[in-house]
Each structure stands twice: as structure tokens, then as C-alpha cells.
Amino acid sequence: MKKIILIIIIALTFVYPVSAKDATISGSISPTSASLELIDKLKQIEIFKDKIATKVSQKRDADKKAYYGIVEKIADNKIDLKAADGSKKLSFEEDTIFYSLSNNSKKEIKSSALTPGILISAFGYLNDNKETLLAKYIYLHDEKPSRIIGKIADLNKTDFTITVKAKEGDQTIDIEKLTKTSLFEKGRALSKVGFTRFKLGDLAFILGLKNEKQANRYSAQRIIIFEMKNLTPTVNAEITK
């Protein structure tokens, strides 16, 4: 009987430790588990480094800004800008690059070309208090054309002008030799048309430059005509600059 009990104990001693070792992570440190732990730690360090880099990049991206507006004042490398959503402040340094964007060409210019009344866009990063844009690049723009939408209310075939009923009132549009005119008909491709195809009641999308001498008058650069026979008299016309 003693022999039997002894054999059972020996058998239990052999089977249990072998299986239990597979089930749980052994407390004893073998060379393999130590190297695995090291690899894990290295991986964690890499993940941590990536997270820091992402955070830094996100912060820098959040500070990246661009402004667009008319220069109001320049003093000591500081510019006050009148933008559509309020006044903006920006500054420039010696390494800020200035470009002139005129007649579809880009040319590097000196900072002295910057004067009040000029339309600019500036790219850079906000300073620490987020109040001033530290400009890296400043683009000087030509005057931007206005955009007018409205129903054609009058056609003058002698003067080559059309009158458009816009949200802000009647606007006179001069059709120039260089004005690009297109006609949109539903289900058909856009076609180039002449002044003769313009009809009263058509909806016109106009891009034009303001006439300096006469208010509510524009010189058209581009006109897109929407030919719609069932136009209602109350068109939601608008003018946007």
C-alpha cells in the first residue's frame, strides 16, 4: 500500500508542474522571457515616441494659419489686415518671402511692395498667444472680381450690356470682347454661345470687375447662362464679393 501511495505522489509530481507551466506565465525568469519583455518594452517606447511626434505635429498643424484681406496699416514689420471675418494681425521677418500674383504669373518681390490698400494672402504660424500670424509667405493679389447671380431683366444689343436683377438691385453688365460666355441646358453639355443667345428671364452667373466710374456696373470676365423656360418671377438672386 505504501508503495502505491508513493507511486501516485510521484506521478502527480511529474504531471502537474509540466502542465501548469504552460497554463500560466512562469514566475521564474528564463532567458527567452527576459528577451521577450525587453522587446515589449522597446515596442512600448516606440509607440510612445510615435504618440509624442503625432501630438507635436497636431499642435503645429493647429497653429498653421492663412489670412486673406486688405492691408490697412504697416508699421515695424507688423501688418493690420482687414479680412471678411474681422481685423487680423500679422508680422513678417527678414526670411519671409513675398510673391506678386499678377496676370497668372508668380514673381518674388521685395517687402517694400507691400502698401496699404493691397489685397494679400499670408501663410504662416500663429504666435504663442495666438494673436499674431508669423508670416512665412505673403502673396500680393490683383483685385479679385465680383460674382453676381440674377435673372436677365434687360438686353441692350447696341451697347452689348445686360441688366441683371440681383439681390442688391439691378446691376449693369458690360459684355467685352474677351468675356467668355457659356450656356447650360439640362441634359446637354455646356456650350459656348454669343450674345444673341441671351434671353430675358435666363439665369446668369457673372464674374466681373467693378466699374470704377459707375456704381452697380461691372465688366464681365465670364458669364454662364442657365436657360430655363419655367423660371418663376421671384428668383433668389444674389451678389457676392
Binding site: 508503495k3 502505491i4 501511495i5 507511486i7 501516485i8 505522489i9 510521484i10 506521478a11 502527480l12 509530481t13 511529474f14 504531471v15 502537474y16 509540466v18 502542465s19 501548469a20 504552460d22 497554463a23 500560466t24 498653421k64 494659419k65 492663412a66 486673406y68 471678411a84 518671402i97 510673391y99 500674383l101 497668372n104 508668380k106 494672402s121 501663410f123 504662416g124 504660424y125 512665412k136 509667405y137 502673396y139 493679389h141 479679385k144 472680381p145 460674382r147 447671380i149 435673372k151 447650360f184 439640362k186 455646356l190 439665369l203 452667373f205 464674374l207 465670364r222 454662364i224 442657365f226 430655363m228 419655367n230 423660371l231 418663376t232 428668383v235 433668389n236 438672386a237 444674389e238 457676392t240
Partner: protein, 156 residues
């Protein structure tokens, strides 16, 4: 008579029945304990699923209804700084109506699909770009949105 290799002795091992049984019992009991040790943590984990999670899984999903006729620009966002000359403008409007996309240098006319969504690319110029997106319904009524997008070739 059993013949062996010349010069070798044959040793007979006699194992008692009790010993064999003891070995079998020992191995079986040891094996069961080992299996129990492996399975125990898994069984305990299964039992400890919080009730809250089960409730959450059973909640019915909520649906958000988007008004069909809402004119909206979904991408890109206003005042975005882009480093690509071409930008894709996406949005929603009434289904199957013309959408006019205009910049000072480019324009495009497309039609919204049956779900009222639209998407089209437009070219940008360096600097600031004002993009006008206008929907025109069958009565000629227009709805417009304006996006100010910045594009530069320079590395910021």
C-alpha cells in the same frame, strides 16, 4: 525456448497490477488538476462580464435623419490650407439638380445624384481662393455657399 543474442542476458520485468493501477490513477488525477489549472482563469473571466456591457450591447441603434433638401458643403472645411492644386468639393442638396462650382479661374457644372449628394474637383490658384457653390432648383431658385481655400506650393 526463447533465443537471445549470443552473449546477452534477457531480463524479465514483472510489474504488479496494483502498481499499474496506481500509475494510471496518478496520471489521470494529475492531468485533471493540470487541465483545471489551465481552464480556471478563462472560466473566471467569462463569469466576470459586467452587466452594464450586456445592457449596452442590447440597446437598439439610433438613426439620424438628414433633411433631404438641405444644401450643405461637407468637404473641405472653410479656411483650409491645401498643398494640392486640385480640390474635391463635396456636399448635399436636393436630388438631381444642377450645382455650379466657381472660382475666379475655373468653373464646373454638375448634377447632384438621386440621394442629393455631389462631388467635383476644381482647380485652385496660389494664395487665397474664394469658391462659390450654388444649387439651382427647377424653379430657378438658387442657394449658395462660399468657401475660402488657401493653396500654396511652398513648404510651410
Amino acid at each position: 525456448m526463447t533465443r537471445g543474442i549470443p552473449g546477452t542476458k534477457i531480463i524479465k520485468l514483472e510489474v504488479k497490477k496494483e502498481v499499474v493501477w496506481a500509475l494510471l490513477i496518478g496520471l489521470t488525477v494529475g492531468g485533471l488538476i493540470a487541465i483545471l489549472a489551465i481552464r480556471l482563469p478563462v472560466l473566471l473571466e467569462k463569469k466576470s462580464i459586467p452587466v452594464k456591457n450586456v445592457k449596452q450591447e442590447m440597446q437598439t441603434p439610433t438613426m439620424t435623419l438628414i433633411p433631404k433638401n438641405e444644401f450643405n458643403i461637407t468637404s473641405p472645411i472653410d479656411n483650409s490650407i491645401l498643398d494640392n492644386k486640385k480640390v474635391e468639393i463635396s456636399g448635399t442638396s436636393e436630388p438631381l439638380i444642377p450645382i455650379v462650382l466657381e472660382s475666379s479661374s475655373d468653373f464646373n457644372i454638375i448634377e447632384s445624384d438621386q440621394n442629393g449628394t455631389f462631388s467635383e474637383t476644381i482647380s485652385l490658384e496660389e494664395g487665397a481662393n474664394e469658391i462659390f457653390i450654388t444649387s439651382v432648383d427647377s424653379s430657378g431658385n438658387t442657394q449658395s455657399s462660399k468657401l475660402l481655400l488657401f493653396y500654396t506650393q511652398e513648404k510651410l
